[in-house]
């Protein structure tokens, strides 16, 4: 096996996995635990984002709503910046938080189609202190099933997604590695903020 092959399966999946991110984020009404939360998002929100009869702009707007409601962007921001977050002044943190939302929205908006027909089944849930891992399998009409694990933080019965692990690859860790490399190379957080702004501006 050449080592590159290891990357192969998640790579293929990863193309549409990010879409899943969006897909599954939806109504927060489920109070039957984190598993029910994810299952409900998958069955109710995914179709809304992939429905081709809804204009793309509207779906993008919906996705942003989902991102804000069912994902804990504040926490994700902290996690992906790691130590750079702790060192950043409040103004930079706020700017990063805003850019992250724009960046993630834009990144996944073009990928909704890939999510159409996706069926997400909850395999099981493992509870940790304050959060749970919801293990799911995503199947499509063709191609191998994809293992999708959701880190769901729960406070006072309110659930919010804080990470998505695709075939063993944590998006938070991946993003943190990438952001960290950019901060190091640019010699500071400003380099990352600039890069994000440039990317968002297209």
């Amino acid at each position: 096996m050449k080592p590159g092959k290891i990357v192969m399966r998640p790579l293929r999946l990863a193309l549409f996995l990010p879409f899943l991110l969006f897909t599954v984020a939806g109504s927060a009404a489920a109070d039957s635990g984190a598993g029910g939360f994810i299952q409900e998002l998958a069955t109710k929100v995914l179709p809304q984002l992939t429905d081709p009869t809804t204009p793309l702009e509207e779906r993008k707007a919906r996705f942003r709503q989902v991102l804000n409601r069912d994902f804990d962007l504040d926490k994700i921001g902290k996690l992906v910046l790691g130590r750079h977050w702790r060192r950043a002044p409040p103004s930079k943190r706020a700017e990063f938080r805003r850019l992250l939302e724009d960046y993630l929205s834009g990144l996944y908006a073009g990928r909704f189609e890939a999510l159409a027909g996706l069926d997400i089944t909850v395999d099981g849930v493992r509870d940790f202190e304050g959060w749970s891992m919801v293990y799911t399998t995503a199947t499509r009409t063709e191609g191998a099933p994809v293992l999708l694990d959701w880190r769901v933080d729960s406070t006072d019965g309110k659930h919010a997604i804080t990470d998505l692990v695709i075939e063993g690859v944590s998006m938070v860790i991946a993003q943190r590695e990438e952001f960290s490399a950019i901060v190091l190379e640019a010699g500071g957080l400003d380099g990352l903020l600039l890069k994000l702004r440039t990317r968002i501006a297209g």
């Binding site: 096996m1 050449k2 080592p3 590159g4 092959k5 290891i6 990357v7 192969m8 998640p10 790579l11 293929r12 990863a14 193309l15 902290k78 996690l79 790691g82 130590r83 702790r86 990144l107 089944t121 909850v122 395999d123 099981g124 493992r126 509870d127 940790f128 202190e129 959060w131 891992m133 293990y135 399998t137 293992l147 694990d149 880190r151 990470d163 692990v165 075939e167 063993g168 690859v169 944590s170 938070v172 860790i173 991946a174 590695e177 990438e178 952001f179 960290s180 490399a181 950019i182 190379e185 890069k195 994000l196 990317r199």
Partner: protein, 293 residues
């Protein structure tokens, strides 16, 4: 591999640099020994000062400048040779033939997979691998058709790097190999061993089919590149730092396959039963009885 909770926590840390790998005596290749020595000297990444979550341990990439250079060269080669070749392959070669190529490439990897299954003490898996090989050889026209998959024996791969990991060898610094791409010291050593120990290549050479190993490697590479055309294009276009993105993908994926978890990232600490966990925590194996299916 994915045995879920049965894994001994921290059994395969990849961070433990001071334990001599027990099976070192088995490795005859001097090159491997050198690699391992190198690994033992530089493997351990250092934790950063972590006062609150997330506790971070930075992945070891002391060779980053060199790695980035090799990565750039690989990217160039990919752009001018491999990617165009994969595009042509997809456009010209019929799907049935491409599937056949893929099946044969995977089939030929099974004997060495079997060796590694046994070396890792994975008896059940080694049995599955052997069965799969026999079925597809006999009924699947020497691997051209994947009959075994339909009989509940899907393709699984492992490699000598995973075997070294199972023997307790840490992964060592990240490496980008010329042409072969993302790796680390341990997996590169595994690749060297595979180069001399793959039973199919040995058989080819014994039969004086000296060009066959190269053709086989070429077909495997083309198949891999073809199947990842869209994915890699997307990653390249959408990542902010492609090198760093591929690096984390490789490392996390590798940790997942070896079932060591990505232990360098402790985003938590203990689960409700008080057991320490790595993050992401090992995935339980739901494949046999999936609830609600």
């Amino acid at each position: 591999m994915r045995e879920g909770f049965e894994q001994t926590p921290g059994a395969d840390r990849g961070l433990v640099a001071d334990e001599p790998p027990a099976p070192l005596w088995r490795l005859r290749s001097l090159a491997v020994a050198i690699f391992l020595a190198c690994l033992l000297s530089v493997a351990a990444p250092l934790p950063s000062s972590a006062d609150e979550e997330p506790q971070e341990v930075v992945f070891s990439d002391p060779l980053e400048p060199l790695n980035r250079l090799v990565f750039a060269i690989n990217e160039t080669l990919d752009m001018i040779i491999l990617r165009p070749a994969a595009l042509v392959y997809g456009a010209v070669v019929p799907g049935a033939v491409r599937r056949g190529v893929r099946n044969v490439v995977r089939h030929l990897s099974l004997p060495f997979t079997f060796v590694n299954d046994v070396a890792q003490g994975e008896w059940k898996r080694s049995g599955d691998t052997a069965q799969r090989f026999v079925i597809n050889t006999m009924v699947g026209f020497a691997g051209l058709y994947d009959v075994a998959e339909k009989q509940g024996l899907p393709h699984r791969s492992t490699d000598f790097g995973s075997t070294l990991a199972a023997w307790g060898v840490g992964d060592g610094p990240y490496l980008v190999l010329p042409i072969a791409g993302p790796s680390n010291v341990r997996d590169a050593a595994g690749l060297l061993v595979q180069g001399v120990a793959d039973p199919v290549d040995i058989a080819f050479r014994r039969a004086e089919l000296d060009h066959m190993p190269l053709i086989r490697a070429g077909a495997a590479t083309l198949d891999f590149r073809y199947r990842n055309l869209e994915t890699l294009d997307d990653f390249k276009a959408n990542s902010l730092d492609y090198y760093a993105f591929i690096r984390t993908l490789y490392r996390q994926r590798r940790a997942f396959e070896i079932d060591s978890g990505t232990e360098m990232y402790l985003l938590g600490g203990k689960d409700k039963s008080g057991d320490e966990y790595a993050y992401p925590p090992p995935r339980p194996d739901f494949s046999r009885d999936r609830p609600g299916q």
